[in-house]
């Protein structure tokens, strides 16, 4: 693969480096918030949750900067090949990262709510699900930094594990609701948290798929439908 910084124009190199840095800053921000959900849920730490909710505005601001820079580069440089794939990845994953940020805020808000109430059950499964989700997000972003298609593919495969964990947890919480209607309020919120984590992992998979496209030029979305095969 071509050297990312190998353009004759140093200014162009700088613009692409800035774009990468902004995406990484966004990635770092959403990872920090997501890691915070583990603490907020596992240790019932509402203080950290409140703090991280406020920080989401920064992610939104970064999203706008990434979009603006992508449009600027597209308009002024007319990128091709690997650079064009990087730019389209930038435009797409910024949306995924922003959505991850919003979903994480939802989780943190619900964590604050459930933390005010007595424990429904021992809080082990949700932090484990959050850890698996964080691993997926981290893996997707690492694969982006390292331009590593294999690592990105691992994230896509790992998504099944998150789905299974979420499904099992949901079934268990349904039992709690059936057992006692007084559990519904808390169980429902925990289910919504699990669903949000599952969707975050889906966004991580989207990012990983984009990384495969950036590195290899092959479209692996939708499990082979319309796939162009390895490039």
């Amino acid at each position: 693969m071509s050297d990312p910084d190998g353009h004759l124009s140093r200014q162009y190199n700088k613009e692409l480096t800035t774009l990468k840095d902004l995406l990484l800053e966004m990635g770092g921000g959403v990872q920090e918030a997501l890691a915070g959900t583990i603490k907020a849920l596992g240790e019932r730490d509402s203080e950290i949750a409140e703090k991280l909710i406020i920080q989401d505005a920064k992610i939104d601001e970064l999203e706008k900067r990434v979009d603006g820079l992508c449009v600027q580069i597209l308009a002024t440089r007319q990128p091709t090949a690997v650079d064009l794939r990087f730019l389209t990845l930038g435009l797409k994953i910024t949306t995924d990262l922003e959505r991850i940020g919003d979903l994480t805020v939802n989780i943190l808000r619900m964590a604050v709510e459930v933390n005010r109430l007595p424990l429904l059950k021992k809080m082990e499964d949700l932090p484990r699900l959050a850890e698996a989700t964080l691993k997926a997000v981290k893996g997707a972003l690492d694969s982006f930094v390292e331009r590593d298609a294999e690592k990105a593919l691992d994230v896509c495969v790992g998504d099944n594990e998150v789905d299974e964990l979420a499904r099992d947890l949901e079934k268990e919480l349904e039992e709690y609701m059936r057992y006692d209607a007084a559990n519904i309020y808390r169980a429902l919120r925990l289910i919504l948290i699990a669903r949000s984590l599952e969707r975050i992992a889906d966004h991580a998979t989207n990012i990983a798929e984009q990384v495969v496209f950036m590195v290899r030029g092959s479209d692996i979305r939708h499990h082979g439908e319309g796939s162009r095969g390895p490039g």
């Binding site: 071509s2 004759l8 124009s9 440089r77 091709t80 090949a81």
Partner: protein, 267 residues
């Protein structure tokens, strides 16, 4: 014409059988090798762009196609250029006849300075022996229409060709090339001296002409190759590095050298 010539194995899917292809073409200036063993075929009704950095041999390469390279003293060509089943370098083939079937438009518009718009277009046809006024009028109008210039010059056919704008002059040169009804049109950096509006007009004209001709365009403007051609060949130090569908070359080239060139990592 029945012939033993068969086109080279395709590197790209081409529905129509090519009428023009080159086999192992090399070209020299004295001892300096400028084009090194290039083999490729040009599908009909398609625009093929040849890209590459300055000095890569792209202009020399297309000049070998219609035997323009040999005009320069001390030059030499090896290999075959097959048009309609015949090698244009075969003994007994007239270079003038080749150039009539393979027209060419150059970097700088070069209408004949002493001739009117009408005469510029008519001159080529006159050389082929066509002399009847009515026939000539028709040829001139048709050629100017094909070159998308008729509406702009129909009231000034007797004015000097050089009185037109740069973009119009270039389309006049295209009309002049079309007047002898070539099968192939070679364009060597046809827009490099033109502004974006005139460039767009030329690209649009060429886009229409491709339905009737085989078109080869040399350009150092990669955006032009990307938007105006169907196939692209990348030349580097005289060698054909990659040849394929333009949309593939500009989004997912096979060769790293191609990728490095089109993304501005050298050039």
């Amino acid at each position: 014409m029945e012939t033993a010539h068969t086109p080279p194995q395709e590197t790209v899917a081409i529905a129509d059988k090519p009428v023009l292809w080159v086999e192992a073409v090399s070209a020299w200036y004295g001892k300096a090798l400028a084009v090194d063993d290039v083999t490729l075929s040009f599908p009909p009704r398609r625009i093929t762009a040849i890209i590459g950095p300055s000095g890569c041999g792209k202009s020399t390469f297309i000049r070998t196609i219609n035997r323009m390279h040999e005009i320069i003293p001390g030059t030499r060509v090896a290999g075959k250029v097959i048009l309609d089943g015949q090698n244009v370098y075969d003994a007994g083939v007239s270079p003038v006849a080749v150039r009539r079937r393979i027209g060419m438009v150059f970097q700088k518009p070069n209408p004949f300075p002493t001739m009117s718009v009408y005469e510029n277009v008519a001159s080529g046809w006159r050389l082929t022996g066509g002399k009847r006024k009515s026939e000539l009028d028709e040829i001139v109008e048709t050629s100017l229409r094909q070159a998308a210039l008729w509406d702009e010059v129909k009231d000034k056919l007797r004015e000097p060709g050089t009185s037109l704008s740069g973009g119009q002059q270039q389309r006049l040169c295209i009309a002049r090339a079309l007047a002898v009804k070539p099968k192939v049109l070679l364009l060597d950096e046809p827009c490099s001296a033109l502004d974006p509006t005139a460039t767009a007009k030329i690209e649009e004209t060429v886009g229409v002409l491709k339905h009737e001709l085989t078109i080869v365009i040399v350009t150092h403007n990669m955006q032009q190759a990307a938007r105006a051609s169907d196939l692209t060949g990348f030349l580097l130090t005289g060698r054909l590095i990659e040849y394929g569908e333009t949309k593939k070359i500009f989004t997912l080239p096979k060769e790293k050298l191609t990728e490095d060139y089109i993304t501005g990592r050298f050039g």
